[in-house]
């Protein structure tokens, strides 16, 4: 921003430029403040606390990092999870987020600002949202000038889709990754526009940061090659494109391989092949262009035929080798999540674990409206604006939006990738629309009073009509101001790609609308923006701020707080032995390790399907069989989440079918059909005996009937099927205040009678072992 060449200070244009710059800096600062503060609803309405599941893991890792330092962190083998396997944390996490927060914490503490690790973690996401909106400004400015940039930045600062992942406390990879994603794209476009190797290097570094932060980096390493390919195919090859791409692939891949979790995947998995293929192609193309330059046309033709015939052969061999390599690996070298992106039905067919996560489901239409709101309508306009005129940069954002729309349609969590693209497009659309309307208002006004005005003066005299508009709506006023300052930046900055700007000037002259129509359209646009702002604030305040670890409900006698999760985690952490193992469904693994500091069997990092299936099998087995499985895993406590008393719908009974499916996927004696009555999942008196006798049912409803006399489940809205039963192998040791979390202890095995022990001993070698294999995979 500041690095503007101001030719002659003192002249009116220079003054206006300077003023515009100061104004846009001011607006950017305000956008940053907006992005930060709109995400604080969660802290104000609830408390400064880490949200949900994954953030607790990240928080725990950050705590470890800040306590033990970076080297210990890389070598950290975590024995508190996936018991008895453990997990190598340093080699299996994307370290970007933790390192970022750890660095912030370290810097603050060395300045003697004693913020706790938790505070830093809570506020990392809002801070990086501000960064992300600034990065959006930079990116959009490269594409369509700073007016569009400011509009896009303001839209991104409050787009609900992004807010949902970055409210204060939502300490997840996406929090920093979206910034890294946008910034990488910005640097790519910047390099493309300037052809500067400096930016190309920065681009590789930004890509490195992205690789550190999130598995979504594969989106970048596929999107950029696609764009390069698009440019080549459409005849837009230039040395700038080469500089933008080649260093990125070389440096980027080298740097990516430095991240332990990626390592050799950066060259071995199919996700990365596109970039290498395009890397070869761009070199071929570069060579062709070079040869074309030094040879005469006739010679060139000969050379082409020669090279093409040899090239075909070589290509064929290379492709054959690649295909053979890829085909030799079972999944074709693709990871499960990526495959489910390419084939949306893949996960539900083969990997129930991926399918069981709600954020991996395809989104519904209302969720588009919820998450990007009016942007959904502005995007097409933005795409059109990008085609007039089409530059390298604008073709990139068009490609970006197209790809992200597809991905968001596959997985609801990838809506997050769509959001920046939608904001950029909408920013462009809004900016262009304001340009046209204010331009024609000004033209019409100018025509009536002073007909000698020409189009070039547009920028200078624009101010009058716009100020009217901005006076009306303060919210939207900001954006209008942005449009104004945009134009100067645009004229100055677009020198490398100056052709389009000339074209657009011509177009602007042609597009003159009637005065009234323009004014009405302007007002409508402002209303649209206002609607967006209202929706975003509502979404931030009401929909996305709940930490999910604390539930609240508004009743007649005031606010009611359900803090059962923390109640029981605190109980576990203070009243059980430090080395006790706690079994629960994997959803609560991260929270148990982070808040209760107890070893868990499975957690949210679902890397070992068999292990999860074992827990699923135990939960769906009868008490005795479950006890044996848990006992063989050294489990001392079993934790279940039960919402039947207060009506908390995402409890274990509702997730139970996934446990059956995942368990049954590995241990075939668990059959889903046994738990369903005529294909229906029910827990009332019609339920199947298998269902009524499985561990999950028993642990959830143990003595539940005593609360109201008939055992009415408020989630399933029915009376439970089996009411009075006793537990023989488990005992209740803790139930939280609202019964949401129930913890059971495995009873010690009963003393065996001497004679029986002997008998069993003789059997052990033959009969028992074969029998238990069926039931219990861990003996």
């Amino acid at each position: 921003m500041a690095a503007l060449e101001s030719p002659q200070p003192g002249t009116p244009t220079a003054m206006r430029n300077a003023f515009g710059n100061v104004l846009s800096v001011l607006i950017l600062v305000l956008i940053g403040v907006l992005a930060f503060s709109i995400r604080l609803f969660s802290v104000i309405k609830y408390e400064s606390v880490i949200h949900e599941f994954d953030p607790y893991f990240n928080y725990r890792v950050t705590q470890f990092l800040s306590k033990n330092g970076i080297y210990e962190f890389w070598n950290w083998f975590d024995d508190r999870t996936w018991y008895p396997l453990g997990r190598v944390i340093g080699g299996t996490v994307y370290p970007g987020l933790t390192l970022t927060a750890g660095t912030i914490w370290w810097v603050l503490n060395s300045l003697n600002i004693p913020l706790s690790v938790e505070t830093v973690c809570v506020f990392t996401a809002p801070v990086f949202s501000a960064f992300a909106s600034w990065a959006t400004y930079l990116l959009t400015k490269e594409v369509k000038g700073s007016g569009a940039g400011l509009a896009a930045a303001a839209l991104l600062a409050m787009v609900p889709s992004y807010i949902s992942r970055s409210v204060a406390g939502s300490y997840d990879n996406e929090a920093v990754a979206i910034f890294a994603l946008i910034f990488t794209f910005y640097l790519y476009i910047k390099t493309l526009n300037t052809g500067s190797l400096f930016y190309a290097t920065l681009n590789a570094l930004a890509y490195f940061y992205m690789v550190c932060s999130w598995g979504g980096y594969t989106f970048i390493i596929n999107l950029i090659p696609m764009h390069v390919l698009l440019c080549i195919v459409t005849g837009r090859y230039s040395p700038r494109l080469y500089i933008a791409y080649a260093p990125l692939v070389v440096l980027g891949t080298l740097l990516a391989a430095l991240v332990p979790v990626v390592g050799f995947n950066a060259v071995l998995t199919s996700e990365h092949f596109a970039s290498f293929l395009v890397f070869i192609i761009i070199h071929v193309v570069a060579l062709v262009y070079y040869i074309k330059g030094i040879l005469s046309p006739k010679m060139f033709k000969v050379a082409v035929t020669l090279v093409v015939s040899i090239g075909m052969v070589v290509c064929f061999i290379v492709v054959a080798i690649l295909v053979a390599l890829v085909a030799s690996s079972p999944t074709g070298g693709w990871s499960g999540r990526s495959l489910s992106l390419l084939d949306p039905t893949y996960a539900s067919k083969y990997i129930p674990i991926i399918a069981s996560v709600s954020e991996h489901q395809p989104p519904t239409w209302p969720s588009y409206f919820m998450d990007i709101n009016v942007l959904a309508f502005l995007v097409p306009a933005g795409i059109i604006a990008c085609f007039s005129p089409l530059s390298d940069a604008s073709s990139f954002v068009v490609l970006y939006i197209v790809m992200s729309v597809y991905f968001s349609g596959v997985m609801v969590r990838l809506m997050l990738v769509l959001a920046p693209a939608a904001c950029i497009m909408s920013g462009i659309a809004l900016s262009q629309a304001f340009d046209v309307f204010t331009g024609s208002i000004k033209y019409q006004l100018g025509a009536s009073s002073n007909s000698t005005d020409d189009a070039e003066d547009n920028t200078s005299t624009n101010n009058a009509p716009k100020d009217d508009a901005s006076a009306g709506k303060t919210d939207k006023g900001e954006e209008i101001v942005k449009e104004r300052s945009s134009k100067k930046g645009k004229k100055k900055e677009r020198e490398p790609a100056d052709k389009p700007s000339v074209k657009s000037k011509i177009k602007k002259k042609a597009l003159v609308l009637p005065l009234e129509a323009s004014i009405v359209a302007l007002l409508l646009l402002i209303m649209l923006g206002a609607f967006y702002v209202i929706h975003c604030v509502w979404a931030a305040a009401e929909a996305y701020s709940a930490p999910s670890i604390v539930l609240t409900s508004q009743s007649r006698d005031g606010l009611h707080v359900f803090d059962d999760f923390r109640e029981s985690y605190a109980w576990l952490s203070h009243n059980t032995d430090v080395d006790d193992k706690v079994a629960s469904w994997w959803d609560y693994g991260y929270q148990t390790t982070a808040m209760a500091n107890r070893t868990v069997i499975v957690d949210n990092n679902t890397w070992n399907n068999t292990h999860i299936a074992t827990v699923g099998t135990a939960m769906s087995s009868s008490e005795k069989a479950a006890w044996e499985i848990f006992n063989s895993l050294d489990v001392k406590y079993v934790l279940v989440v039960f919402g039947g008393l207060i009506g908390y719908p995402s409890d274990d009974i509702n997730k139970f079918l996934w446990m059956v499916r995942i368990g049954g996927g590995v241990f075939p004696h668990i059959k889903e059909a046994d738990y369903l009555r005529d294909g229906q999942y029910r827990i009332d008196s019609e339920a199947t005996p298998t269902m009524l006798n499985c561990l999950m049912y028993k642990l959830s409803y143990y003595r539940f009937v005593k609360t109201d006399g008939k055992g009415y489940d408020r989630v399933r809205r029915t009376e439970i099927g089996k009411k009075n039963f006793k537990l023989t192998h488990f005992e209740e040791v803790f139930t939280s205040h609202h019964w949401m979390v129930r913890i059971y202890k495995l009873k010690p095995p009963r003393n065996r009678i001497r004679g029986r022990t002997k008998k069993l001993k003789s059997k052990t070698s033959s009969g028992l072992s074969s029998k238990s294999v069926k039931k219990n995979p861990w003996i």
Binding site: V49, P114, D563, A570, H574, N575, K706, T735
Partner: protein, 464 residues
């Protein structure tokens, strides 16, 4: 159990055998009355003594003796001299110090009480002694289930252990309920309702000891704070920030087996009688910005009532505490500085604040009180009515450069009676208050100067 009784009897035998030597004292106790209050887990004993000097020289002080089992649990001993008759009684606090005696039989512990004026031959004086014992109720059975009531043992002697001859003495023991499983009977002894009376016993020689055990029901909350760290941070900008880190346990009979929420919620009177889930903290008046949380976030079950003389914070731990269960939490609050910081006549400043633990009816096993003085303070000194361990630390807080001096006061076995004011004196120049604002201002100034310079410097090697 048996072993302990055996030890006691040995102790008694030894006491009796050596009593001949120690009776060479010049003092004797004419009349002694002891009232032991066992209604909570803090045992309070009130001793009314009438002491007579039977020697030839004036006596300046007397000794109080405690058996070794009590001396380590003795939280506090206070003595008052009574002067004047019935209606016009006045109490004068006396100086009480722990002391060592070279001829102490069987590790008997002593406290020395100094009379106001030396007691002349033949004179008598009346004393009121209060001593407080912690961890002296031993749960038996050691583990109970949710539906059981908590029974405890109390060990003491039916006669008062004293290096002096006691002419006449009586001991009253008050139990919380009428349910007394058993008590050792030393004739004459009888029980009426909540009270057990031992005595009157006549003419017991010095160092007499007759162990008794009382087994009774006590369901009062055995709230024991294992460790409490209170940090009082003085900011001369107008407030005092207090942060209290608690590690609380239930010190009673350990909970065994099932915890059933159904029973706990529906049959509150019989289920978990000895458990507790509500605590009360007495905070200073004009308290503000109160928070109550633990290391995984805010705890929402608390109510604050602010009042003119004191504020009360009623709060619940995350879960009810049964025997042996523990919980950690932090309470923080802020009070206006002018209520607690004063200027002494010699120009020094002093903080006048309350020692001890704000929770009512709790024992603190280890209390660490840290007074963080503002940066630049010098010559700190603490004044307390009892002995504590003192040391100095340095703490770095927001943008500190030299660090803040921290006066650390550490005391074990603290009971609510220790909630008395203490003072910390220090010198401080108000100019230090401006150091941090000045730093910030100059940092911002430098940033702007740097950016100004950057904009105006042409860093290109080749002139364009």
């Amino acid at each position: 159990m048996a072993a302990r009784i055996w030890i006691f009897s040995v102790v008694v035998a030894v006491f009796l055998s050596i009593s001949a030597f120690s009776s060479a004292q010049d003092l004797q106790i004419v009349n002694a009355e002891r009232r032991i209050d066992l209604s909570s887990h803090i045992v309070k004993a009130f001793l009314t003594l009438k002491v007579e000097n039977i020697g030839k020289d004036p006596a300046a002080e007397m000794l109080l003796a405690f058996p070794p089992t009590q001396i380590k649990n003795l939280a506090m001993v206070q003595a008052l001299a009574i002067t004047g008759k019935k209606k016009k009684k006045t109490y004068l606090p006396l100086d009480v110090k722990p002391t060592e005696q070279s001829d102490a039989p069987n590790d008997t512990g002593y406290y020395r009480v100094k009379f106001i004026s030396p007691l002349g031959p033949g004179e008598t004086v009346s004393l009121e002694v209060l001593y407080i014992l912690t961890h002296s109720l031993e749960p038996f059975p050691v583990e109970i289930t949710q539906s059981e009531s908590q029974l405890v043992y109390y060990h003491d002697s039916a006669v008062i252990l004293s290096p002096y001859h006691i002419k006449q003495q009586t001991t009253f023991v008050k139990t919380p309920t009428t349910r007394v499983e058993s008590f050792t009977s030393i004739e004459p002894a009888n029980r009426a309702g909540k009270e057990i009376k031992y005595g009157p016993y006549e003419n017991r020689a010095s160092y007499s000891y007759t162990p008794v055990i009382i087994h009774f029901e006590n369901n009062s909350p055995f709230a024991v704070v294992e460790e409490l760290v209170r940090e009082i941070e003085i900011s001369h900008w107008g407030s005092l920030q207090i942060t209290e880190n608690y590690r609380l346990t239930h010190g009673g009979a350990r909970h065994k087996g099932v915890f059933s929420r159904v029973d706990y919620q529906s049959k509150r009177s019989v289920s978990g009688a000895s458990s507790f889930n509500a605590l009360l903290a007495v905070l200073p008046p004009r308290v503000n910005s109160v928070y109550y949380r633990d290391n995984i976030g805010n705890i929402s079950t608390s109510h604050l009532r602010t009042g003119f003389r004191k504020s009360e914070l009623e709060f619940e731990p995350r879960y009810p505490l049964f025997g042996g269960w523990s919980a950690t939490f932090v309470i923080g609050y802020r009070v206006p500085l002018e209520d607690y910081l004063f200027e002494a006549s010699d120009g020094r400043r002093y903080l006048n604040f309350t020692f001890g633990c704000p929770l009512v009816e709790t024992i603190v096993n280890k209390l660490t009180l840290k007074v963080v003085l503002p940066e630049g303070s010098k010559d700190p000194s603490a004044v307390l009515p009892f002995t504590v361990n003192q040391e100095l630390e340095v703490k770095y807080s927001y943008l500190d450069i030299v660090g803040r001096t921290v006066v650390v006061l550490q005391k074990d076995n603290v009971v609510p009676t220790h909630n008395v004011p203490f003072q910390v004196y220090y010198t401080f120049k108000p100019i230090y208050m401006l150091a941090e604002p000045f730093m910030l201002v100059s940092a911002f100034f430098l940033v702007f100067v740097a950016s100004l310079a950057y904009v105006h410097i042409d860093l290109n090697i080749v002139r364009k």
